[in-house]
Amino acid sequence: MNPAVNPALRVLPEIILTIFGILVMLADATMPKTASRKPLGWLAVLGALAALAASFWQQSLPAGDAFYGVVRTDAFSVFFHVLIAGIVLASLLIALDAVSDTTEGLGELFALILFGAVGMMFMTSAVELLLVFIALEISSISTYIMAGFRRKTAKGPESALKYFLLGSFATAFFLYGIALIFGATGTTRIPGIASAITTGHAPAIVYIGLAMLIIGLGFKVSAAPFHVWTPDVYEGAPSPVVALMSTAPKAAAFAILLRIVYGAFPLLHDHWTPVLWWLAVLSMTIGNLGALRQRNVKRLLAYSSIAHAGYLLVAFAALSADGIAAASFYAVAYAAMNVGIFAVVSHAGGYDDRLTLIEDYRGLAYRSPLLGGAMAFFLISLIGIPFTGGFFGKFYVFVAALQSGLIWLAIIGLVNSGIAAWYYLRVATAIYSRPAESSPIHAGPRPSFALLLALVITVSGTLILGIFPGGVLSSARAAAATYTSVSPAPPVPGTAQR
């Protein structure tokens, strides 16, 4: 612990987001009932920007714990803080574009996004399982509410209820896992657990506890076979909310999964890598095969997000510093392209989902070259075409996998990405097909400044990650280097295991 650093600075982004969240709520309460709530959205954007700046600033702090060793700031937590703040910023912009002045409960929506972000940020910096649990709940409860935000539709409440029930189960699993591990090791601090387990073997109760933790987080990252809620929830939730919840809470859950398996149970890797191997294979395969059959674009993207969770888990199974770095990089690349595509879906489909089916997107490129072009670009990145973040993320994941000798996992993964091309292309070709003569032309509102800003952020992010990934890559590697348990040195060229 570094006494020179004020503990409050270690949680500065979280504090900023909380303050702005409260400000938004207070302002919402004092505003006249009929007044437009959009300025509150811009206030929230300001908050997200401030949190982003604070996260960047945290890089200058020396790594260390605060609040009795509950929170830790290091390269790893800062990396995910920046990512989450960026996603929140873009999602707020998308929401600002999608809603109208009269949308119900807007003030709450903006405040909930900020509060949810507080939870996600704590997930990435917590090194105490109880704080992880609390953070998980903060983030989950805000997303449950946001998922059901369109109260008047049939799908909205259904989506929220499903998400809530299954999500509560998942957190219960997680909590039970914590209890079991406390029983076995006498501590809930992640470094404490690591030092309590000194050999490659542990009492059965630890394995059960770890399995529970993985199941709980498996739900949160929508890894198969814990994925069943995803398509329904994505379909029912408003698109700007899906942009957020398909990326930020997942990135946070992946971060905490990395912290747990690599930070708390590094010596048990013989036991958890096969589990993650199977989770990866199942998620990729089930996600991609499920997506092949979808006609609804949001459901299709839900299955695609399951598949992408699988690609990310490939990097987990690689069990190397490169694997951790690849997983972190992939989280960023996936966030950029997925938030981007939901920005387009949100604007083209509108808050009330006017366009739902793939056929509805026919000729989007003719009606709006900007939206059509952007959507095609993000689809190309999701397929994994070079010079986009999606490609480099996948590439790096499979480099890590093959360097660890996981040749079958790499083959299964890349064949999967070949299958995935098929359904992404169905959407892409629909966008570039001539619109049917009979179909009514949804001109749609002109893209607002907020949407343009969101698209600029996501498009340039995806391109930079694909062409000049060096900067993010070195941050990801620095983040991975915080785990001393794995060998940080890459295999020496030429002497890799054969």
């Binding site: 480099v399 570039y432 060229p493």
Partner: protein
């Protein structure tokens, strides 16, 4: 200074052009004119290459090699040898022609068309000049995207279907190619082509794994060529794609990659599988020719003719005789040139008469003398008449390969005869005989200025390449002699980089 940056310029000037096209107003012919300018500038820049190419020197030239991504170790490494030199030139030469042929065919959404067209140029040139496997793969995959979008957007009737077919056909094997490339990196720690070549030649790899890796490379390229029986996408794409894209979709990218990577990295493994490929080449040659004979749609005739001609190149490659390899490279260039020209001619014919059905034509020669003349020249080039480019390639392939596989090559000569059959028959039905009602009812407009500008350079080049072939051969021959005889090649390329290649490559080539 210019020598180090010239390849970067040639590769990325079209990309810059594509970005500018996006910003131009959609007014008049501003966009095509600008695209033409960009394509011409690229071509002129590429003329620097043959002018300053050192024919006496082996190995890669105009090299630029700077670190791009520190970890995994990826370099921005470009360079050309005698093989890629002419393929780069072919690509830049076909650039302005692609713009000219689209001038009237593409009236709407020109911004999308020309920006993607220029991006495609970058991707294709990039494939030929990249010497880092990561970079190469990036360009290789990139080349699918503008092609697929353009086929989907500008396809005649079933564009989206053809685009999907093309993409899935080529993308799936590419995924396995990527596994193979990353596997090589995991084993050797480098993506660099030259270093990989030396390390693979030095040996010490599990031969079973290396065999699978070479198969992954082979299949990915064979689909793209396409090699029989992986040609399922070709006819649909040639039929649907806008002419400028159909001209470049088949052949050179896949064949180049076979030369560079399969022959260059896995000399022992390809020699083991070569008899199979020679057989497939002959089957593809005869199958393509026979199917072409019974078609009435001119585009289908040409697409099977292309399959047949490309199979010819495959025979030349996998006999591993120096003459055959030289001929195969020459045929690759010819195919791009003459195959492109015949597609341009078909497009001009269609613009006049609105039909691809050759039974509806007849007696066109007296109405459109210039178009007929150029058509006949192209036909003769395609069937390999002496003094035209096709003859050089065909002769070299047949004479070079005959001693290696006499039976198969003898069968291939039958295919050559058949090719004369369908090409001449097509010309005869369209241009000679009685004037059909379709021909006599329409006004007879012979080639205009733009159309002549499109076709004459190609026709002239066909003759020049037929007469002064040594000019091209003096660059191709050294590059191929290395591949024909891998031990010597290792000696040459490895000598430059602290030759660790003390153990020569397993020799299967001395048949």
């Amino acid at each position: 200074m210019l020598n180090a940056s010239i390849l970067t310029l040639i590769t990325f000037v079209p990309t810059l052009g594509a970005i500018v096209v996006l910003l131009l107003p959609r007014r008049g012919r501003v966009i095509p004119a600008f695209a033409l300018l960009v394509a011409l500038v690229t071509f002129v820049l590429s003329l620097h290459l043959p002018a300053h190419y050192d024919y006496a020197q082996h190995g890669f030239q105009f090299v630029i090699d700077v670190p791009w991504i520190a970890h995994p170790a990826i370099h921005y490494h470009l360079g050309i040898d005698g093989l890629s030199l002419w393929l780069v030139l072919l690509t830049t030469f076909l650039g302005p022609i692609g713009v000219l042929v689209s001038w009237r065919a593409i009236e709407h959404r020109t911004k999308e068309f020309y920006s993607l067209f220029l991006l495609q140029q970058t991707a294709m040139i990039g494939v030929f000049v990249a010497l880092d496997l990561f970079l190469y793969y990036a360009f290789w995959e990139l080349s699918l995207v503008p092609m697929a979008i353009l086929i989907a957007m500008f396809g005649r009737r079933r564009g989206p279907r053809a685009a999907l077919k093309f993409f899935v056909y080529t993308f799936l094997p590419s995924a396995l190619l990527l596994v193979a490339i990353i596997w090589l990196y995991a084993q050797t720690g480098t993506f660099d082509f030259v270093q990989l070549q030396a390390k693979l030649a030095a040996g010490g790899f599990a031969s079973g794994a290396l065999w699978w890796v070479s198969i992954a490379f082979l299949v990915a390229f064979a689909v793209k060529v396409p090699v029989f029986p992986l040609h399922g996408w070709l006819a649909d794409v040639i039929e649907e794609a806008p002419t400028a894209m159909a001209m470049v979709v088949a052949g050179k990218l896949g064949l180049y990659s076979l030369f560079r990577f399969n022959l260059g990295l896995f000399p022992a493994q390809v020699r083991e599988i070569a008899p199979l490929l020679v057989a497939l080449g002959v089957i593809g040659l005869l199958y393509g020719a026979m199917v072409a004979l019974v078609q009435t749609d001119v585009r289908r005739v040409v697409s099977y003719a292309i399959l047949s001609n490309l199979s010819f190149c495959i025979i030349g490659i996998f006999c591993f005789a120096l003459g055959g390899l030289n001929g195969a490279v020459y045929q690759t260039i010819n195919e791009g040139l003459s195959g492109g020209a015949i597609l341009v001619l078909i497009a001009f014919l269609y613009e006049r008469y609105g039909s691809f059905d050759m039974t509806q034509y007849g007696g066109l020669a007296s109405r459109l003398p210039m178009l007929s003349t150029l058509w006949i020249v192209t036909t003769l080039a395609l069937i390999g008449l002496p003094l035209l480019n096709g003859f050089v390639g065909e002769f070299l392939v047949l004479s070079g390969s005959f001693p290696v596989h006499p039976g198969w090559v003898a069968a291939a000569t039958v295919g050559v005869i058949l090719s004369a059959g369908y090409m001449l028959w097509m010309a005869q039905r369209i241009f000679y005989g009685q004037q059909s009602s379709l021909v006599s009812e329409r006004p007879h407009l012979d080639l205009g200025m733009r159309e002549q500008l499109t076709l004459w350079p190609m026709a002239i080049l066909m003759v020049v390449m037929g007469v002064v072939s040594p000019y091209w051969m003096k660059a191709i021959d050294p590059a191929m002699s290395g591949l024909a005889n891998p031990t010597a090649a290792m000696h040459l390329t490895a000598s430059g980089i602290a030759a660790s290649a003390s153990t020569p490559a397993p020799q299967g080539g001395a048949r």
